[in-house]
């Protein structure tokens, strides 16, 4: 075969609420969902050097927190390479399940992102109130809270989006 290296398909996305986080979209199912506490070697160095401060794994993405003194635009390319290498060795990750913590972040991101956009465009709003035992509680307000049809659709869509990122989701309930 040729020497051409085929790289693992990833790309970075913003997380609406926090500019120090990048959500790296990775092939679904590469890593188990949870909070990583141990990383394979090139990526681990970034944590040792305090460039990166935390991580989170959802079904098809890895979240990485960068230190406030660093910037993604300068560190990003190097982190990308390290992450690709680390993803090639999924067995070398140490990941704690921590379902509720992961769900909280995912739910918040979904509410700030595409589904939240739909809600807001209809004059409503939705906020995360709690996550407990894989059940996500959301508080709908504004226009949507009075309309059962819309809240039903939104509710379904929200559940679908969150479950796509975190398969352990039990259900979404309205507060």
């Amino acid at each position: 075969m040729s020497a051409t290296v085929t790289s693992i398909a990833i790309h970075p996305e913003r997380v609406a609420s926090n500019s120090s986080i990048i959500r790296w979209v990775i092939p679904a199912g590469t890593l188990p969902v949870g909070l990583p506490i141990g990383f394979p070697s090139p990526l681990a160095q970034f944590f040792t050097d305090r460039v990166l401060t935390a991580g989170l794994v959802e079904d098809s993405a890895v979240w990485l927190w960068i230190h406030p003194d660093e910037s993604w635009s300068t560190q990003g390319p190097a982190v990308r390479e390290a992450l690709v290498e680390a993803l090639a060795a999924p067995d070398h990750w140490v990941i704690e399940p921590c379902d509720d913590a992961v769900l909280r972040h995912v739910a918040q991101d979904v509410l700030a992102g595409p589904v939240g956009d739909v809600i807001r465009s209809h004059g409503g709003d939705a906020a995360l109130s709690s996550v407990n035992g894989n059940v996500v509680e959301v508080e709908f307000s504004g226009a949507c809270s009075h309309c059962p049809a819309i809240s039903f659709t939104l509710h379904n869509r929200l559940e679908k989006e969150i479950r796509a990122r975190h398969p352990h989701l039990e259900r979404v309930v309205s507060a």
Binding site: T4, V5, T6, S7, I8, A9, I10, H11, P12, E13, R14, I22, V25, I26, P27, W72, S73, G76, P77, R80, E81, V84, G113, P114, D117
Partner: protein, 646 residues
């Protein structure tokens, strides 16, 4: 006609002060220029980038309560420039000139797998950008899919889906331009490394649920015929035949009407103006000269209609594909065919069309060859000369002899152009890397009326401007040279001229005019070909544009016999030498003239465009020189040959 009706107009500056500038960038065939036209409307101005002759298209549009400048960059597949057009894009992006405030990246949604890598490289320049996805209706029709908002999140920039020919997309783009200050930018620039880039593309497209379209079934069905080894070739020749038929046959009645109109106008003017010489000036020089050239307007308009239709429908790429092997014989590629085909109208658009050739050597070879193709400026010259040579009803078998000779002249032009291209590519082969040949074969489309209209409008407009400037000035100067100095009756009496005969008086004025001195000065050069000073005036004046030769001979003849210029031309006699008294336009002289006009670069507009396209006087000088030598030699050979057989 000729020439520089197709010259890009002088750069009209749209005031840049304080206005935001947005550049449109994208692949060829991405619908970028259509979008640009839709955004800019009638405000489009064409100029040139400094130093090169890559056309610069500027337009403006109102967004919100301010006006923004739009710039349509040449289409390119890559930011590793291998042609001048592509270099312009690279220079604009890297701010060599002055980087735009923002860029509008235009990508065909049906070819995203290919073009996302291009987008990545554009984004690496860190200029605020938005993405417009075109042909989303085609994507859907062909069973493809894209989630534009997911794509927008994955790319980190705004994405606006657009379909061909709907206002909504345009309005959405305008609204987005108005929000320039809040455009998002990618959180991390896309990777540069090829393998990582491929991975990035794959990841982004899968996140955006991209489903590439099925092959276009309509295009596949049409191509099964149009690119079939037998039927395709047949259709190609039919299309080319129809192309020429339309230019010459359909245009003819319109041309006659223009002729009739100017003749009528001239007669009116002559009758209305009581000062003798002024009346003659207005009817002969002004109306005669301009009218004689404006006759070609229908042809030019039709030619550009057809090129726009062939281009817009997607057939031009197929024609280039079918002709590639033939062009390869001359060391060129299929796209050079488009350039040579355009040269049938005029070498200027032909030379400008070489910009689509990535290889600098191919461009040069094509530019050296294009002026040999029988352009429509040669047509009136040929028609006049062949008319003097052959009776209208003479036949050779079932064919009209005039038509046959004319066809022969077209063939001669095409064959000699190919020969020159072959020689030029052989000579330049020694240096430089071999550049790749690649050509996108776009799906068939119904040509956009707007594109056809704007192509015709631009070319016809430029032609009319040229007629009313260069050609008008030339014909006026010529008229003055031919008719001055005016002689008094006393002078003529003294010279022994029969002052009772108007014809004799005109002839005397002409023989002693300033023009006669010019014609006589160059006589030694052309005497071996059998040309006398009266023909020489025509040749010198045709440097302005070939068709001026017709107008000049007309004026010379009219000066000799104002009432019957055509008869005068036929009755012109050799004035001195051994053949004195024989008709001036003998078969050998006509043959020599035909050859001379077939090969000589008698067109200053072409010289000017060559200068601009190549960036130096060297190539136009070489072209002018070699063509003159070939023209003189061929004319001499033709004259000698005809003299031998007659």
């Amino acid at each position: 006609m000729s020439s520089s009706h197709c010259e890009p107009g002088t750069s009209t500056q749209i005031t840049l002060a304080g206005k935001r500038r947005f550049a449109l960038i994208g692949n060829p065939n991405s619908g970028k220029s259509t979008l640009f036209n839709a955004l800019s409307g009638l405000s489009v101005k064409t100029g040139n980038y400094p130093g090169v002759t890559v056309a610069k298209h500027l337009g403006q549009t109102r967004v919100g309560d301010s006006t923004v400048i739009l710039e349509d960059l040449p289409g390119t597949y890559s930011l590793d420039a291998i042609s001048p057009d592509e270099q312009v894009v690279v220079d604009v992006l890297s701010g060599v000139d002055e980087a735009p405030d923002g860029i509008i990246i235009v990508l065909d949604s049906t070819t995203l797998q290919r073009s996302l890598g291009f987008l990545a490289r554009v984004l690496r320049h860190n200029i605020p950008a938005i993405l417009v996805l075109t042909f989303t209706d085609d994507l859907q029709r062909r069973g493809g899919h894209i989630d534009a908002s997911a794509l927008s999140r994955a790319l980190g920039i705004r994405v606006i889906p657009a379909t061909s020919g709907e206002r909504q997309g345009v309005n959405k783009i305008k609204a987005t331009l108005a929000e320039f200050g809040s455009w998002e930018s990618p959180v991390i620039a896309p990777p540069a490394d090829a393998a990582q880039l491929t991975a990035w593309t794959e990841s982004v497209l899968s996140t955006a649920s991209y489903q590439p379209p099925e092959p276009d079934r309509r295009t596949a069905k049409i191509d099964a015929v149009l690119l079939h080894p037998v039927w395709g070739t047949l259709v190609f020749f039919i299309v080319m035949f129809a192309f020429f038929q339309t230019i010459f046959a359909v245009a003819a009645p319109m041309q006659e009407q223009i002729e009739v109109f100017f003749a009528w106008l001239g007669a009116k003017a002559d009758a209305a103006i009581t000062i003798g010489w002024l009346g003659a000036f207005v009817s002969e020089a002004l109306l005669g000269g301009v009218g004689g050239v404006l006759v070609f307007l229908p042809q030019i308009a039709l030619l550009f209609v057809m090129i726009a239709i062939l281009e817009g429908s997607g057939y031009m790429a197929r024609a280039a594909f079918l002709m590639d092997r033939v062009m390869a014989k001359a060391g060129l590629e299929g796209r050079a065919f488009v350039s040579l085909l355009s040269s049938v109208a005029c070498a200027i658009p032909g030379i400008m069309a070489t910009r689509s050739l990535p290889s600098a050597k191919d461009r040069l070879a094509t530019m050296m060859a294009a002026p040999l193709i029988t352009c429509s400026a040669r047509l009136p010259v040929y028609v006049l000369l062949i008319g003097l040579l052959v009776d209208p009803d003479e036949r050779f078998g079932p064919f009209n002899v005039r038509g046959l000779i004319l066809f022969g002249m077209y063939l001669l032009g095409a064959v000699s152009a190919m020969l020159v291209a072959a020689i030029a590519t052989r000579l330049s082969r020694r240096s430089g890397a071999l550049l790749p040949f690649y050509m996108e074969i776009p799906p068939y489309q119904v040509p956009k009326l707007q594109a056809v209209v704007s192509a015709v409008w631009a070319s016809a407009g430029a032609f009319v401007r040229k007629v009313t400037s260069i050609i008008m000035v030339t014909t006026i100067v010529l008229w003055l040279l031919l008719n001055f100095p005016q002689r008094s009756l006393a002078e003529m009496d003294a010279a022994g001229v029969d002052t009772s005969s108007e014809t004799a008086m005109s002839a005397y004025v002409l023989d002693n005019s300033y023009a006669a001195s010019v014609g006589k000065a160059v006589e030694p050069v052309f005497a071996p070909l059998g040309f006398d000073w009266r023909i020489n005036i025509g040749i010198v004046s045709s440097l302005a544009a070939r068709e001026v030769f017709v107008a000049t001979l007309g004026q010379v003849a009219a000066a000799e016999n104002p009432d019957e210029p055509l008869t005068a031309l036929q009755d012109m006699k050799v004035l001195n030498g051994p053949d004195k008294g024989d008709p001036l336009f003998s078969p050998s002289v006509i043959a020599a003239l035909l050859m001379f006009f077939a090969f000589a670069l008698q067109c200053m507009s072409t010289v000017g465009v060559l200068r601009r396209e190549t960036g130096s006087w060297r190539w136009p000088a070489i072209a002018f020189g070699y063509m003159f030598v070939v023209a003189w030699t061929m004319a001499f050979l033709a004259a000698s040959l005809v003299r031998l057989v007659t």
